[in-house]
């Protein structure tokens, strides 16, 4: 058996593409504002088989968010459906069914009722609908998780906008165009946490 999961850990199963950048930033910033810790497959160092490493990461997190809003044909030829996210969701469901006290998973979508068509086996699962907007992601994070000390949606959006406006500088500093690069993700996480601390100290009324 693997060690017990981190009770603050949230595995993010999201598409790694440029169009998803704003929602990715919203997930990371929003989770830090709820004092949870996001994890991405890109964090895992090389070596072992990728799928094994992803499974270990899922096992190490108490929660996971599976965003199926972009399970579609790739734009770049040859057009192929994007199976990574449903594959990782399937692995997670199996793990959670075998170990219900160790893991809780959530499905996120951009449109209501789309999940019933794309994955009818998940009927009975209520997806969180973010409408494809950062505000929707932050709103749904607040619907999925509750803490005694919760920031307001406005406070969360304020931090999100600041991080989003400075994101290109983070990419530049890390010498990459890839928002999901490990070094970029690490910097995004540390910045999100420090800004959360700041807004908590200086504007306690938003908490």
């Amino acid at each position: 058996m693997p060690p017990p999961p981190d009770p603050k850990g949230v595995f993010l199963n999201i598409p790694y593409d440029e169009e998803f950048r704003n929602l990715y930033i919203a997930y990371v910033v929003g989770l830090f504002q709820l004092d949870l810790v996001p994890h991405l497959a890109s964090e895992i160092p090389g070596g072992d088989r990728r799928l094994n490493r992803i499974f270990e990461l899922i096992q190490s997190c108490r929660y996971s968010i599976h965003d199926l809003s972009r399970v579609e044909l790739s734009v770049v030829p040859p057009a192929a459906p994007r199976f990574n996210m449903p594959l990782e969701l399937g692995m997670t469901i199996t793990w959670a069914n075998l170990n219900p006290d160790q893991h809780t998973w959530f499905v996120w979508e951009s449109e209501p009722y789309r999940l019933q068509r794309s994955a009818s086996d998940l009927n009975g699962t209520d997806p969180y609908i973010h409408n494809g907007t950062p505000e929707g992601v932050l709103r749904e994070l607040r619907n999925a998780f509750h803490r005694d000390s919760m920031p307001s949606l406005q406070g969360m959006l304020h931090v999100y906008r600041f991080v989003y406006n400075n994101f290109n500088a983070i990419l530049l500093r890390n010498g990459t165009h890839n928002p999901y690069d490990r070094s970029v993700f690490n910097e995004l996480c540390m910045l999100s946490r420090i800004l959360t601390d700041l807004i908590r100290l200086t504007r306690p009324e938003v908490f």
């Binding site: 004092d35 998780f145 540390m190 800004l195």
Partner: protein, 65 residues
């Protein structure tokens, strides 16, 4: 209606996060600069209503005179 998950786990400490998400010294300095800028933005937003109250008082006293 779904009930949200009630989180009781303690906040992750900064030290804990630094180990999980290691960044370079240059990135640390850049984040600090951004944090200072964010702090300045927050205090400007805080001061704005106070300044407008002061301006309103000045305007009223000037018109009374």
């Amino acid at each position: 209606m779904r009930k949200p998950i009630y989180i009781t786990a303690p906040r992750p400490t900064l030290e804990e996060l630094k180990k999980q998400f290691p960044i370079s010294k240059a990135s640390e300095r850049a984040i600090q600069a951004l944090a200072d800028e964010f702090k300045a933005q927050l205090s400007n937003r805080e001061e704005a209503p106070v300044n407008s109250i002061k301006q309103e008082k000045r305007r009223k006293s000037a018109s009374a005179a």
